[in-house]
């Protein structure tokens, strides 16, 4: 297993995956078909779950994400939620943006993973 970085694009966030058990997704996520962009990240997580024992920490720092990205984030978090190693989510949101805070709270309701909120 190796560390991996997916670079930021006009439509996609930067995703860094560290074998110490940290994933960070930062920027904006608004691809028309987000599955292509998140595909390598999902594979990396599957690999991690099979090979590592430590829980994963996912830091999500998105200023915007569209519905296609919401589906991919859900997929990613569900994978970790279902895995025995478990994990936690740090949800970073712009202080003035209620919608983005609510988005995090909504995902928390749908999953067993613990969420921590951090306004920026």
């Amino acid at each position: 297993m190796e560390n991996k970085i997916i670079s930021e694009t006009d439509f996609g966030p930067e995703i860094t995956m560290d074998i110490s058990g940290k994933i960070s997704i930062a920027g904006k996520s608004m691809m028309e078909d987000a599955s292509l962009f998140y595909g390598p990240c999902l594979s990396w997580v599957e690999d991690y779950i099979q090979n590592k024992k430590e829980g994963l920490q996912i830091e999500i720092d998105l200023n915007y994400f569209n519905s296609s990205s919401a589906k991919q984030l859900m997929k990613l978090l569900m994978k970790i939620d279902d895995a025995e190693i478990g994990g936690n989510v740090v949800w970073i949101y712009p202080t003035e943006n209620d919608v983005l805070l609510e988005r995090g709270q909504e995902l928390e309701i749908m999953l067993d993973l613990p969420f921590k909120y951090s306004p920026k």
Binding site: Y64, N66, S67, K71, K75, M78, E96, E106, M110
Partner: protein, 364 residues
């Protein structure tokens, strides 16, 4: 709110023959020049791109420079680009003082009488003297526009008060192939009067931005950038964010589900001000019929916030599990974010079935 969709439908019909049409009636700032050029560029042949960029920025900056003299509380300034046949029409409207009107009228009359060589000489003379007018660089800019477009500049003045005039100007740039057959040589640019009517509709209904043309990732970015800068969160929390989100989802719907006609995903996008906020509208040709979609929208329009939240979560989870097309999530989400009903209207014309979606984003 169906009348808002009806208005955009009327404008859509006005632009039937346009390969691209863009009308801007928002903040006038140099920062927008780049985005407007990026949008217009998609339909222009390579060799005309440089001239097009110059004419757009010169014409747009004329409005920025001369500012807007407000008339009865409504902003009159407008900027438009329309690609029809072999022409790209660049239209600007703004109000000017009586003295500026006199200057512009005289200058344009003079320029329009000159041929290519005479214009070149006048330009050189103006550059050398640097004192062509007391109105800043206006004179030089006009000569440059006439030289680059190689056509007479269309103009019109309309008296508003003794001291105030509306000034309309139109540059007609040839951007397509000039085939030397009879039809081509006979084809003439549209009259400035047509754009004057469009300008009246746009200012009257406070349409900030209207784009008709091909929808792709390349067109989305400049449009989103224009949306963002025109809809700050000044009066209500998150209204700018909601407009941005609605714009992304509705435009991606066109890219995803729109019917391709002549190799293009043709659609329309508009944003206008309303008493309570903004109205966003998109339209595109569709494949098949829209009955299921209309029923789906009518269903989610009946639901309250709690029901919508539950439906959203259920649909999101199912689509994440099943790897299927996420159809529907975007619309459910828009409905619950704006908490106003989503309007749908359908029309049929010679190219196919056209579906329009509209929604109002209100200050809470």
């Amino acid at each position: 709110m169906k009348d808002q969709i009806a208005l955009i439908d009327i404008l859509r019909k006005c632009f039937t023959g346009d390969k691209i049409s863009m009308n801007y009636h928002g903040l006038f700032d140099d920062a927008f020049t780049e985005q407007l050029i990026a949008l217009a560029e998609s339909d222009v042949e390579k060799k005309a791109k440089k001239r097009m960029a110059l004419l757009i920025s010169e014409s747009f900056q004329n409005i920025v420079r001369h500012g807007d003299l407000e008339v009865s509380g409504k902003e009159e300034s407008m900027f438009g680009i329309r690609g029809i046949d072999k022409f790209l029409h660049i239209f600007s409207a703004n109000s000017v003082s009586k003295s500026t009107k006199d200057f512009l009228e005289e200058k344009l009359d003079e320029i329009n009488k000159l041929d290519k060589e005479q214009l070149k000489a006048l330009y050189a003379e103006a550059l050398e003297n640097g004192t062509i007018s007391s109105k800043g660089g206006a004179g030089l800019g006009l000569i440059e526009m006439a030289r680059k477009s190689e056509r007479k500049i269309q103009k019109k003045f309309k008296k508003i008060t003794e001291e105030l005039y509306a000034f309309y100007m139109q540059i007609d740039l040839v951007i397509g192939e000039t085939i030397e057959d009879e039809d081509e040589t006979q084809s003439e640019p549209i009259s400035i009067k047509e754009n004057e009517i469009i300008q009246e509709l746009i200012t009257e209904h406070e349409i900030i931005f209207l784009y008709k043309g091909d929808f792709s990732s390349d067109t989305m970015n400049p449009i989103l950038s224009i949306m963002k800068q025109n809809t700050n969160d000044e009066n209500g929390k998150s209204i700018g964010f909601k407009i941005f989100h609605s714009s992304v989802e509705l435009m991606q719907n066109i890219v995803r589900y729109g019917a391709e006609i002549d190799g293009k995903k043709e659609g329309i996008f508009s944003l206008n001000k309303t008493k309570n906020g903004y109205y966003l509208c998109t339209g595109n040709y569709i494949v098949g019929d829209s009955e299921n979609f209309e029923k789906f929208i009518s269903d989610i329009n009946q639901k309250d916030k709690t029901e919508l939240d539950l439906l959203y979560r259920k649909t999101l989870k199912e689509s994440a599990l099943n790897d299927d097309d996420s159809a529907g999530i975007g619309m459910i989400d828009l409905r619950r974010v704006i908490m106003n009903k989503i309007d749908v209207a359908k029309g049929i014309d010679s190219k196919g079935t056209y579906l329009m979606i509209g929604l109002e984003i209100t200050y809470k």
